[in-house]
Symmetry: C2
Subunit: 163 residues, 2 copies
């Protein structure tokens, strides 16, 4: 039971955009240079985040992506939903229904029992993830209330000038 690599990238992207100076979009090229990996796969992730309402895209020259909401208003569950869909760990293939179908006709009850357990467990998982905002993560990282802002475009540019 692993989250996808794409989710980790998505979370990282949101964290980057949260430390980006207000009003300046970060291009996907800059994000790709920072994170590494596939540029085109990154585009798919960005698209999901846009559709999910977490980030905005700006077309045209010196365009890119900006955070759609305040870091305090974005939690990790939203990132999860945007990239991976609903939280549903138990794949009901109907094994219980099939096994207990001739057992006092309790197939439905058995299936409901196990399904409910995992539904409850998922709720607890999702609730915790949902209580953690991007701001919380950054506070934990920087140890200060004031999150420092930078322009990632410049950082990448400086990097590339060195080489």
């Amino acid at each position: 039971m692993h989250l996808t690599k794409g989710f980790e990238q998505a979370a990282c992207i949101v964290a980057m955009l949260a430390t980006q100076e207000k009003g300046i979009p970060v291009s996907s090229g800059v994000i790709n240079a920072t994170l590494g990996g596939s540029a085109t796969y990154l585009h798919k992730i960005m698209r999901k985040l846009v559709v999910g309402g977490l980030i905005n895209s700006v077309s045209g020259n010196s365009g890119g992506f900006t955070l759609a909401k305040e870091p305090a208003e974005i939690n990790l569950l939203e990132v999860y939903h945007a990239t991976e869909g609903p939280v549903d760990t138990f794949p009901d293939n109907g094994f219980f229904k099939r096994a207990f179908k001739d057992f006092a006709s309790l197939a439905t009850e058995a299936d409901a029992a196990i399904t409910n357990v995992f539904h409850q467990a998922d709720s607890r998982w999702a609730a915790y993830i949902g209580s953690m905002t991007v701001q919380d993560i950054l506070w934990e990282t920087f140890k200060v209330q004031e999150i420092p802002l930078v322009d990632w475009n410049e950082i990448v540019q400086e990097q590339q000038n060195k080489n």
Copy 2:
């Protein structure tokens, strides 16, 4: 983030063995006839459960598998561990470390922050799963304290005689 099909089968197998009359092993052939699916894949699952100490195997004629512990002493987390390994949803591919490596050298802190969040969420998920025993599931199913026992071997035999 889905559990594997194999896990659902494993849980179902344990439930079957928990309703099996004491002392009589259930053969893998009978289990396969009840659950359907691949017989060979079933063997692998059974093996994992044996290695995990959840069930015992009996060789020889009229052999099979029996529950190694009381239903009240087997929880779903054990089934999970036996079939899927440790609970670890967040795949740390080091994107955070890479992204924040030139950001006030807080790469480790950022990585630890996000990793910790998911570790906490996983703990809550695992704790709930771990608090649910096979007995609880069966109580929920049968609505009675006394779990009815049957001999699955006979049930399958009767089924096959019909056809």
